[in-house]
């Protein structure tokens, strides 16, 4: 079902409507429901892909990591099971270059630079958008300009039907892997301008599943994945308010989990040596935004955040005979963030924005002689946009200053100063036409993480940031058909070329036990992303299709030019991958069928047979029925995932589950 609802604009529009609307109370008109289909894609200068609303909910997915697989131009590294780490790498530049934003404010992890997308269930997520480059909206915080690519997760915004002030929803999911997953949502309109949303979710899974692997002598062996147990709880509370000339929101987010790490399957005797490593996490943040339309020519926004992240990792020889030494580490991270952005309307075609962000990150750990780093980062961005009738252009310049201090006789990394520009341009040959061409150039960098710089004996405080330069050009074509069962078609194609220099790679220092992080990596990536969506309406049947395809050649240029493996494909990047989704709704039924194909890839840049990972494909299907029971809306869904029981690995040594099932019951009061 591809019904485009301009939810984002509704919030902004609300504040303006209260100022400008004038209702004639003597005459009440009722209008029929209107379906608004906007030309969403063509208004963006930067390549963007979005999954939202019902299309997102229907996809048989556990978490953001599963849903994001249906976008082109990215690779998920998934360590298997519901609890396994899942990170995203966009256009081969590296997971640390992806910024993940939750309700507009970036999620941070100064310790290792990546966000585990498997921790974000779709329960409270309204939309997921992936931007190559940066969001093409110059009125944003400076940090929004800083990542090579971004993922925006937007949570549900409460909407109340006429006459109601309360929404209550509950859901329960169960199925394979011994999953028990209840969740609860309570949305409450407090005043005419303020509403509140409270969401709680608990997840338990045994993490057990059967898998097969090829053992020595080419024997296929079946075993069970153990120690993948996860127990996690999440609470989220949001307050949203409208002002006469603006809006504000505040969010509290708390997540706590305990999970086992099964480790890689390393051709062991099945079941003989069970890895028993355990990790505990607590993630908490409090963030707020205030947006105001202060004058016809001036808009302002303030964003602020406090985050606390705790991690405890235990590897105990008493539980696992292959563990030689005890590891029992505790890490505490804090982040403080404040941002202001000011947009000036210079003329009807020109806008300018100045944004300043300040951020402080600290890490305390009980590693031996750990230096407890503290980092100040100041981001300053200046951007302008030109909107002419056929051409839109945006230029931005980001200046980043980083200053670190350490304790315990360590040496802090030297201060960093960087200017990174971006230029985007979009051209519509015919102003009301369906075709739009665009191109962008962007430089960005990522700071070495605290682990890269200061981790005991492997850290290197002399590390420089990794740099990326991206070039992209492409087009979008979107057309609405009248009086046809096919009512919308959208095609998006981009070709791109990226360079990554000073890539931070672990290299051996003096023997295989002592490694060191160094800036010796270099990569050149070229590729093409294609996305095609269609929407159909055949009487009461609504159908939508979504096809994504990526071809990518990511060359590792780090080694010597004499090496026969110079320019080998970077680990885990397939030459080709594709996905297809067909979803539909008919009266009270909804269904979704999806297919993912990942081509062959290698687990090191030495592209030889022994390092090759086979191509794989999975098929998923889900079916839902809406049932009205007394006045309670219920929805029952069933999913079969990996229908043909494909045995595959995404990360070498971490087998993925075979065929699995899920049953979901949703109740709306």
């Amino acid at each position: 079902m591809k019904r485009l609802i301009i939810t984002l604009c509704v919030i902004c529009a609300c504040s303006r409507l209260t100022a400008y609307e004038h209702v004639d109370s003597t005459h009440v008109h009722t209008i029929a429901n209107v379906t608004v289909r906007g030309n969403y894609l063509a208004s963006e200068l930067i390549p963007v892909q979005t999954l939202q609303g019902d299309e997102l909910q229907l996809l048989a997915s556990n978490s953001v990591a599963d849903a994001i697989r249906y976008f082109s131009g990215l690779q998920i590294k998934d360590y298997g099971g519901i609890g396994g780490l899942k990170t995203v790498n966009i256009r081969g530049m590296g997971s640390e270059h992806v910024g993940v934003f939750y309700d507009g404010i970036e999620l941070g992890n100064a310790q290792n630079g990546v966000i585990d997308l498997g921790r974000f269930s779709l329960d409270n997520i309204e939309s997921i958008s992936v931007y190559n480059g940066q969001k093409s909206d110059i009125f944003q915080s400076a940090k929004d300009f800083s990542s090579a690519s971004s993922v925006y997760l937007q949570t549900r915004n409460p909407s109340f039907k006429n006459g109601t002030n309360t929404n209550v929803k509950a859901s329960f999911k169960t199925g394979s892997f011994g999953v028990a997953n209840p969740s609860f949502l309570w949305e409450q309109r407090i005043t005419h301008n303020i509403n509140s949303s409270f969401n709680a979710e608990y997840l338990y899974t045994t993490g057990r599943y059967k898998f097969t692997y090829r053992n020595a002598g080419d024997r296929d062996t079946t075993s069970t994945r153990r120690n993948g147990e996860v127990s996690a709880i999440r609470f989220e509370h949001g307050l949203n308010g409208n002002l006469s000339h603006g809006e504000w929101r505040i969010k509290n987010y708390f997540y706590s989990s305990r999970r086992g790490y099964p480790g890689a399957v390393l051709s062991d005797d099945p079941g003989r040596f069970i890895h028993a490593d355990t990790q505990w996490d607590v993630n908490y943040f409090l963030q707020g935004s205030l947006k105001g339309h202060i004058a016809p020519w001036y808009d302002m926004q303030i964003n602020a955040k406090y985050a606390y992240d705790y991690m405890h990792y235990l590897s105990d020889p008493k539980k696992d005979v292959t563990v030689v030494a005890l590891t029992n580490n505790h890490f505490h991270q804090k982040e403080y963030y404040l941002s202001t952005a000011h947009m000036f309307k210079i003329s009807h075609a020109i806008n300018a924005d100045i944004s300043i962000d300040a951020q402080r990150n600290t890490l305390n750990a009980d590693l031996d002689k750990f230096v407890d780093p503290r980092r100040w980062t100041i981001f300053t961005a200046a951007a302008t946009s030109f909107n002419l009738s056929h051409i839109k252009m945006q230029g931005s310049l980001l200046y980043t200053y980083v200053h670190e201090t350490v304790n315990n006789n360590g040496s802090a990394t030297p201060d960093k100063n960087k200017f990174t520009p971006t230029l985007t341009i979009a051209w519509k040959p015919r102003k009301k036409g369906d075709l739009s061409l665009r191109a962008f150039y962007k430089q960005s960098f990522r700071m070495p993480t605290f682990n890269d710089l200061y981790y005991t004996s492997i850290g290197n405080s002399a590390l420089k940031p990794e740099q990326t330069t991206q070039y992209d050009c492409g087009f979008t074509y979107g057309h609405n058909f009248q009086h046809s069962i096919l009512y919308r078609i959208e095609l998006q194609t981009d070709g791109y070329c990226s360079h990554v220099t000073n890539k931070i790679v672990a290299v051996p220092a003096d023997n295989q036990f002592r490694w060191m992080m160094m800036n010796i990596g270099k990569a050149r990536i070229t590729g093409m992303d294609i996305g095609l969506s269609t929407a159909w309406q055949i009487d009461e049947l609504q159908l939508g299709t979504r096809l994504a395809y990526t071809h990518e050649r990511a060359k590792d240029m780090s080694m010597s030019k004499d090496s026969p493996y110079y320019g080998g494909q970077i680990p885990y990047i397939p030459w080709n991958n594709a996905s297809f989704v067909l979803n539909g709704s008919y009266r009270l039924w909804d269904f979704s069928y999806s297919f993912i194909y990942t081509g062959k890839r290698y687990d090191t840049s030495t592209n030889i047979e022994v390092n090759r990972l086979d191509a794989w494909s999975t098929h998923d299907f889900s079916l839902s029925r809406n049932i009205k029971w007394h006045k309670i809306g219920t929805k029952l869904s069933a999913e079969i995932n990996n229908i043909f029981n494909c045995r595959y690995e995404i990360v070498s040594g971490y087998p993925m589950p075979g065929r699995n099932y899920k049953i979901i019951l949703n109740i709306k009061l």
Binding site: A264, V324, D556, V610
Partner: protein
């Protein structure tokens, strides 16, 4: 015809001259020789070379390459799924044993056909040696101690595959057999903050019980036995200038310990010379650079600080082996330990003869007395 017969006789007469370490050219001899490093006899002379690649840490892509001396062909990945981090290998009897460290198994293959035969579960297995129908394997996974587990030596009966064990020091690495005793290097590699381990454990092979521990340098890893019956131990030190790597010499009869100041990592013996390659790490520049030495086992002195003479540079020498017939020196370069490695063959004079790309992170080599498959 007669000329040919005489020529052949002439050739045969000169053959004995060829298997000493002082001379020899590129000929391949049929005569059996005893490999100085491992002590086993190669019935057909040196016909082939096996190279064990560790693979990328944390994955299962450890592999075995082979080199055929008659066809001069190097084949990558003759066994492609050795498992996770093959660390050491040996041929005993008609079998090839590989200690696959992170797969926690010793895998046994037919030495000629390379067909898989059996695997024996030994957690954190590291190194192999043999004696009198038994195979000995060092393992890190011994009894839990305060700081790290202690190590042990597992003894596998080659007929019944029954195993038993004997506890030794921390993180034992290579072993050497001399006079019915087993000498084990206890590296203590996981105890870097506590000063590693610095002992060699001596096990009586009749009783398979630990006799005593002898103190040598810290972090001892590799071992070789000289013609004079002394045990040369490469002790890796603690990677700082306070305790650089050094070679220690243990006399098994007198139990006297001598030392030779030479940076060391891997060793290979040929006659009275031990060829050493090392990676010397500089903490100020964060750069590791290779160094090479030749030691005389009679005088316990360094006789040369160079092996390569034609300017060829390696990034990260990880293994060395001297061909005692041709006196060629083969050195493996693990390069980045993540991408493929390389193998170089230098002549006695130190000039490059051939080189090939190997699998990921080559770690061990052995010569075969038969032509590889």
């Amino acid at each position: 015809m007669k000329l040919k017969k005489y020529l052949f006789l002439l050739l045969a007469a000169t053959l004995p001259l060829m298997y000493s370490c002082e001379g020899g050219d590129n000929d391949i001899t049929q005569n059996p020789i005893t490999d100085p490093d491992s002590g086993y006899s190669l019935q057909g002379g040196i016909k082939g070379l096996y190279v064990l690649n560790q693979g990328t840490w944390g994955t299962q892509n450890s592999s075995l390459d082979t080199y055929n001396y008659s066809t001069n062909q190097y084949s990558i990945g003759k066994i492609n799924n050795v498992g996770a981090t093959g660390n050491d290998m040996m041929i005993y009897g008609s079998k090839l044993y590989i200690a696959v460290n992170m797969s926690n198994q010793v895998k046994i293959y037919d030495a000629h056909t390379l067909s898989f035969q059996k695997e024996i579960a030994i957690p954190e297995c590291r190194s192999l040696t043999y004696n009198d129908g038994k195979v000995y394997v060092t393992s890190y996974s011994g009894a839990i101690d305060i700081s790290t587990r202690k190590g042990y030596v597992a003894r596998i009966d080659t007929a019944t595959y029954a195993t038993d064990s004997c506890s030794v020091g921390y993180q034992p690495e290579q072993m050497a057999v001399y006079n019915n005793k087993l000498y084990v290097a206890n590296s203590g590699g996981y105890r870097s903050k506590l000063g590693y381990d610095n002992t060699v454990s001596i096990i009586d092979l009749s009783t398979f019980k630990l006799e005593k521990n002898i103190k040598v340098g810290i972090n001892p890893n590799k071992m070789l036995i000289s013609n004079e019956g002394e045990i040369f131990i490469a002790s890796l030190g603690n990677y700082t200038s306070a305790h650089p790597s050094k070679i220690f010499v243990l006399n098994p009869t007198t139990e006297n310990v001598d030392s030779i100041s030479a940076n060391c990592g891997c060793m290979s013996r040929c006659g009275d010379s031990i060829y050493v390659c090392s990676n010397d790490y500089d903490y100020t520049t964060w750069v590791s650079s290779p160094s090479y030495h030749i030691i005389n086992t009679k005088t316990h002195t360094v006789v040369a600080n160079k092996i390569i003479t034609d300017g060829t540079t390696l990034t990260y020498p990880s293994m060395i082996k001297v061909n005692s017939i041709t006196h060629d020196i083969i050195i493996g370069d693990a390069y980045g330990n993540v991408n493929s490695g390389e193998i170089y063959c230098f002549s006695k004079a130190g000039v490059l003869k051939w080189k090939y790309a190997t699998g990921v992170s080559p770690i061990a080599m052995l010569f075969t007395g038969f032509t590889p498959k």
